[in-house]
Each structure stands twice: as C-alpha cells, then as structure tokens.
C-alpha cells in the first residue's frame, strides 16, 4: 500500500535543512515549515483520504507531519492525525482536521481549553502508544567483537554491530557493520541536533574515557586478550544498551542518520567534532557555559502544573538514584575485596595442608583450599553481575534523567522565545502608534509590516511551545513506562544470577562435606 511507504528523499531534505540551521529556533522552524509547504500537497495526496487536512491549514500540520514522516511505518496513519489534534487547537486559523473517531471538525478554543484537551488527548495518546508497541515491530541490535585497529596513539577499537529487524524502512532484515566509538558519538550529536529542540528525549551516548582508551592504545597484546579487558567489556555493553535504547524510540529509530549508521557498509566520515580538543569541542564548552547561566537567571512562570510536578519528581528520582548507585558501587567493591581475600586464604590453607602430617586431615585441608578457590571465583562472578546489571543500569538512568531535564530546558527556551516575540510585538505596536500620532505615513507602512511579521512570529512561538509541551508529555510517559520495564527486568535478571551462584555454592560445599567427614 502506497501510504505505508514514505518517500525517503522527503525526510532527508528535512533533516539536511535542520542540520544547516544554527541555534535560532525560529529560523529553523520557519524554514522547515516553508520547505514543507510545497510538499504539503504531495504529503496529503499520499496519506489516506480519511486524513482530511484543510488546505489552508498546512503550516503546522505539515510541520508536525513532516517531522513525523519518519513514523510513517504505521499501518493506520489515521491515528497519527489524532496525535496532532492538540497542536492545532491553539491555532487561530480555522481548523478543519478531522479526528477519526467523530467526523466533526474540531475547532476548539484557545489554550485555555488546551490543558483540558491535552489531558483527554494524553489518554488517547497513551492508548496509541500501546497500539504502536503492540504492532509487530522488532529491532534488536547487538555489539560484539571489539577489535583493536592500528597501533600506538592512533589506535582505536572497532565493534561489530549486528542488527536484526523487520522494520520496512531498513533495506534488509539482518545486517552488520563495523563502527568505532567516535562514530557513536557523532551519531548522538546529530540526533541531538535534530530532535532535542523538538522535545524528544535522545538517549545519551556512553562517556569518553581517557584512561581506558590510553590503556588500549598502549597495550601490545593482540585482540584475543584485549576482548576480555574489563574496560572494553564495559564499553561494549554500554554501546549495546545505547543502540537498543535509541532503537526503541519510535521516532529516533527511523531517523535517517540512525539508519545510515546501522546499514552503511563503508566507514563513516570521521566525526572530528566529537573529540574534546577540536574547534567544535571548544564551541560546545562555551555553549554549555552560556546555557548554565541561562538556566540560573531565567525563571519561567509555569502555567501547567503537570510540568512542575514532573520536574520535581525527576529531581527526587535523580537524587535517589545517585545515592543508590554509590551504595551499589560500594557493594561491588566489597565483593571484589572478598574474592581477593578468599583467594589468599585458599592459598594459605593449602600451605597448612601441606605442612600437616596427618594424611587425611592434610587431604581435607587441601580440599578446603580448593573449595575456597572455587568460592572465590564465584564471588568474582557475582561482583561482575552486581556491576554490569545493577550499577550500570542505575548509571544509565542517571544519564537519561539528565537528558530528560535537558528536554525540559528546551521547552523553557521555546517559551522564552515566545515571550521575547510578544515583547517585540508590543514594542512594534507602540512604534506604530507613535508614528500614527506623529503623522509619518511612510514609516507607518513599515511599522504595520513589522507588526504583521511579529504577530506571525508570536503565533509561531506559541505553536512551538504548545507542540514541544505536547511532545514532552508523550516522551516522558514513554520514558516512565520504559523505566519501569527496564528496572523490573534487570533486577529479576540480577536476582536470578544470585540464585545460580548460591546453588553453585551449595554444590561445592556438599562436595566438600564427605571429605571432612572422612578425616580419620
């Protein structure tokens, strides 16, 4: 069916445009909208006739639609139309978009009803989200075979990425590529550029590590032993989690950069702007300083209490997770110590067994030493499980929450822009009034043009704000659901591994018992 096929060039163009933009939010939105307009016809033509969109109403819908083109995989695109209902609510222009449920034009009043409307829609949205996930879309990514390439300071690790999916946008169902760490970072920064300012939560990439990589670069051993290195394993696991998390996001998984990352056979162009010392790195540093100053100085008066609540919750969650993370790390540390000490005890018990004259006692003591050795290996295994399952899970979520907070901040920025636009509009109006009084007719026209322009900007600002609020609500709901699922499954996995270890322990000691009894 034609409507399930999205035209790839469409989204690519859109993405290119967004990449070229600088940080001016309005500009990007504006241009994107303009880019979408001529395609508006094409888009609407492709979408099922039930999605009746008012011709004059293209602007916002297409903008949103264009952004959601990536989601076109859905069989029922009609449900998508419903997703964007609230965005049109606040629009002053007449809205004729038709919700699928009741074939009546929805012309809801302005943002006062927005809040209540969104609450109703929120329910519908969560239904639709469930609908989406219940459809048979699977994507599974595994990262393996860390290999060292090159030598000396220029060396780096590549990882083999195998993707198995039945999403139609991907060319094949099973494919694999080789990527290096900076490729991952490049992917993340591209995704962030494209999506973060729309309010989507982009999963954060694993952190750089100078120490770990230097060790890798300096090591002279070949790939075999390196693959077992703790740092490499840690990195491999976190890369795998990163890719799977990004793939589980309905919009991000269909992003063209993401797909290229997974599919393109050749090496990706070196993402030099991710290295810390590059020009882009410096720029990032300055940006960050500016952002933190902004965060501290500007206080947005929050009209929507949902956001207040959520932010508070996120702060609390962040705190608690950090505390928990430190205690889990302490546990890991202690267990590693325990395994060390058990090992040394095993050795000294063996020595005592050797010195012992009485034969069966000597034998029993050596057996004890062996058991303790096995126990030591078990403790080490458990410490590993503690770390990889629990500690990393918590760390991931702490980072994710930082990304969510970032998204909230984006919303504040959008609000700021909207307010700024409103202020400019008022000023322009004043100038116009002054001109009018002073009778300078030629400048009056200019002033009127200005006013019109800024009125449009104000509307745009408001739209964006409402849109981003909408997206954020959806994203946060998704995030919460995902979090619950993640936590539950990881913890159960961890407890299962504990059970296994304990049962092994039982076996070892039961094997030892007859030996102990055999002491004559």
């Amino acid at each position: 069916m034609a409507e399930t096929r999205e035209p790839p060039p469409l989204s690519e163009e859109e993405n290119i445009k967004s990449e070229e933009e600088d940080d001016d939010l309005f500009a990007s939105a504006h241009v994107e909208v303009k880019a979408e307009e001529p395609k508006g016809e094409k888009v609407t033509a492709e979408i099922e006739p039930q999605n009746l969109l008012d011709e004059g109403d293209d602007i916002d819908l297409n903008f949103a639609e264009g952004a959601k083109q990536a989601n076109a995989d859905k069989v029922d695109e009609t449900s998508k139309a419903n997703l964007f209902e609230p965005e049109k609510v606040g629009d002053a222009a007449n809205i004729d978009a038709q919700p699928l449920v009741n074939d009546q034009p929805k012309a809801a009043p302005r943002s006062s009803a927005f809040a209540t409307a969104t609450k109703n829609k929120a329910q519908q949205l969560s239904d639709e989200i469930e609908e989406e996930s219940s459809e048979n879309i699977t994507i599974n990514i595994s990262v393996s075979h860390p290999q060292k390439v090159g030598d000396g300071m220029g060396a780096y690790m590549t990882y083999k990425i195998v993707t198995k999916t039945n999403i139609p946008e991907f060319k094949k169902e099973l494919f694999s590529v080789n990527r290096r760490f900076s490729d991952f970072l490049g992917l993340h920064s591209k995704l962030e550029e494209k999506h973060a300012h729309l309010g989507r939560i982009v999963p954060p990439a694993p952190e750089k590590s100078v120490i770990g990589m230097t060790k890798v670069k300096m090591s002279k051993e070949d790939d075999g032993t390196l693959a077992h290195d703790e740092f490499v394993e840690k990195r491999r696991a976190s890369l795998e989690r990163y890719l799977n998390r990004t793939a589980s996001h309905a919009v991000l998984r269909l992003d063209s950069d993401f797909r290229e990352f997974l599919q393109l056979d050749a090496d990706l162009p070196k993402a030099t702007n991710t290295s810390a010392l590059s020009g882009a790195g410096m720029k990032r540093l300055f940006n960050r300083v500016g952002i933190s100053v902004n965060k501290m100085t500007y206080k947005m008066d929050e009209s929507d209490e949902w956001f207040e609540e959520k932010q508070q919750q996120l702060e609390n969650l962040d705190d608690q997770l950090r505390k928990l993370h430190t205690s889990v790390e302490a546990l890991v540390h202690h267990r590693k110590q325990l395994s060390l000490h058990t090992a040394s005890f095993a050795k000294s018990a063996a020595m005592v067994g050797n010195a012992e004259e009485h034969t069966s006692l000597s034998r029993a003591l050596s057996q004890l030493a062996e058991v303790e050795e096995k126990v030591e290996r078990l403790h080490e295994k458990q410490a590993d499980a503690d770390f990889f399952v629990l500690a990393e899970l918590l760390k991931d979520y702490i980072n994710l929450i930082a990304a969510v907070k970032e998204v909230f901040h984006q919303r504040v920025k959008v609000f700021q822009n909207w307010e700024a636009a409103q202020q400019t509009l008022t000023k322009k109006r004043e100038t116009e009034a002054k001109m009018h009084l002073a009778g300078k007719t030629e400048k009056l026209d200019q002033a009127k043009a200005d006013i019109a322009e800024w009125e449009a900007n104000v509307q745009k600002g408001q739209h964006e704000f409402e849109e981003i609020s909408q997206t954020i609500r959806k994203e946060v709901d998704c995030f919460e659901k995902q979090r619950v699922i993640d936590f539950k499954s990881s913890i159960i996995k961890y407890l299962d591994s504990l059970i296994d270890d304990q049962q092994q322990l039982i076996q070892y000691w039961e094997a030892f018992l007859p030996e102990a009894r055999a002491i004559a």
Binding site: S327, L338, S360
Partner: protein, 289 residues
C-alpha cells in the same frame, strides 16, 4: 535518625553482640574441656576451685610489677630460644617434631590472619546490603509508578539477605577462623613445651660437662653427680611427657579440625539453601507486583 533506622540499628547491634557472645562461649568451653580431658591437669587444685567454688573468684589481674616481670621473662625466653635453636636433638622424634611445629606454626598463623580478613570483608559485603536496602526503600517512597511496590519488596529482600550474609560471615568466623586461631595458639604452646624440654636437655648436658670437669679436677664430684642425676631425671621425665603430649596434640588437632570443618560445611550449605529460598521468594513477590 528515623524510628525504623534506629530499630534496625538496634537489631544489628544485638545480632553482632550475640555472635561475639557465641564465639567467646565456644572458646571458653573448648579451653575448659581441654583441661578436664588432661589426666594430670584435671586434678589440679586451681582447676577444681574454679569449677566448684560457689562465690565469686576474686581474680586480681597483674599489677604493674608483675606485668613488667612477665615482659622481662618473655625477652629472656626468646633470647634463649634463639640460642637453643641450633642445638640438634639426639632423639629423632623430637627433632622431627620441632621442625614440623615451627613450620606449622608459621603457616597456620598466616592462615588465621587471612581467614580473619576474609570474614571481615564478608561482613562488609553484608553491611553494604543495608545501604542498598535503605536506598531502595527511599526510592520506592518517591516513586509513583508500579515500581513502588516492586522496590519496596526488593528492599525487604535485601534486608533479609543482609541478615543472612551476616550470619554466614559470623559462622564462618566461628568455625574456620577460630579453629585456626586456636591451633595457632596451641602449636605455640607445643613449641613452648619443646623449648622447655630443650632447656632441660641443655641443662642436662651442661650438668654432664660439669660432672666431667669435676671428675677431672676431683672436686665436688658428689655434688655434680647429684646435679647431673637430677638434670637427667627431669630431662627423661619431660621427654616422656612431651611425647605423650605431642601425640595427644596431634589427635586433638585432627579431631577438632574434623568437627569444625564438618560444621562449617554444613552451615554453609544450610545458609546457601536459605539464601536460595529467600531469593526465590523475592522473585516471586516481584513478579507479582
């Protein structure tokens, strides 16, 4: 500190106290039983008094003078030991014993300290569970999703696991470390016995030499003869007793190790089974939550 934290801490302290109490009681019991089992020591007057006297024994601890005196004695003793160290024994049995005991002592001392470290770290692991359980419960309180019940039960699970691990650690301590420690002390005592015997031997030998010298000089022969006789007697006496004591030492050692190793293994199995049960229960409650 909140009430729950306070009661938890109280419980923890009680458990620790109980564990230490168990340990001290066991040690004392072993000590008294040893004395009672010994054919000569059991009829010692002091021992009798200790067991039978109704009222409080007023045992005065060493005052300064005695402590100092004791300190000096240890110094002279160790100097003596070094001197006697090179003296080779006539009797092969004792020679062999000496070598064996020296080595055994060093190794078992090493083992005791390692076992102690191991039990201590094990306790640390158990204690770190407390913080995790506390963190989980706090997380559960601020949580508003399904995770709340989940985390609560998980926190409980960790709490119980901690108690279990703590008990494992203290039992391990009790059985293995203490056995090793006891035998470290015992082998030290055996070494002392050998030392005393060697002392007697050297006394005997010097008495012999004195006798020969006296015979040469033809002076005080009787005296030296008496001295030599005396020394010889005490040497023989001590040698015999030492033989039986050392044989006894060996049997006792074997027995005690056997008992404690069996106990240790059984306790480990019991605790691991309980642990598995606890984990299974927790998973069950978590899956239902």
């Amino acid at each position: 500190m909140t009430k729950e934290e306070f009661s938890k801490m109280k419980q923890e302290l009680e458990a620790e106290y109980l564990a230490t109490f168990k340990k001290t009681v066991a040690m004392h019991e072993v000590f008294l039983q040893r004395i009672a089992a010994h054919p000569v020591l059991r009829s010692d007057h002091n021992f009798r008094v200790f067991l039978e006297y109704d009222q409080d024994l007023s045992v005065r601890s060493k005052n300064k003078k005695e402590k100092f005196g004791g300190f000096l004695k240890t110094i002279t003793k160790s100097a003596d030991e070094v001197m006697l160290h090179n003296q080779k024994d006539v009797d092969e049995f004792f020679e062999h014993q000496k070598v064996f005991l020296e080595e055994y002592y060093t190794r078992i001392k090493d083992s005791t300290s390692k076992a102690d470290k191991m039990t201590r770290t094990h306790k640390n692991v158990a204690d770190s569970y407390i913080k995790i359980s506390g963190g989980l419960v706090q997380l559960a309180t601020i949580e508003n999703t399904d995770l709340s019940k989940f985390l609560n039960s998980l926190g409980d699970g960790f709490e119980k696991a901690r108690k279990l691990e703590g008990r494992i650690a203290s039992d391990q301590d009790l059985k293995i470390s203490d056995t090793l420690r006891y035998y470290m002390r015992d082998s030290s005592a055996a070494k002392d016995l050998l030392y005393r015997r060697l002392r007697c031997l050297s006394n005997y030998e010097s008495a012999n030499k004195a006798l020969e010298r006296a015979r040469l000089k033809n002076k005080e022969i009787q005296q030296s003869e008496n001295a030599q006789q005396h020394a010889r007697e005490s040497f023989d006496h001590i040698s015999e007793i030492a033989k039986s004591e050392l044989a006894d030492f060996k049997t006792r050692r074997v027995q005690m190790f056997r008992k404690n190793l069996i106990d240790a293994a059984e306790l480990e199995i019991k605790h691991s089974k309980a642990h598995v049960q606890l984990l299974k229960n927790t998973i069950q409650t978590l899956k239902e939550a």
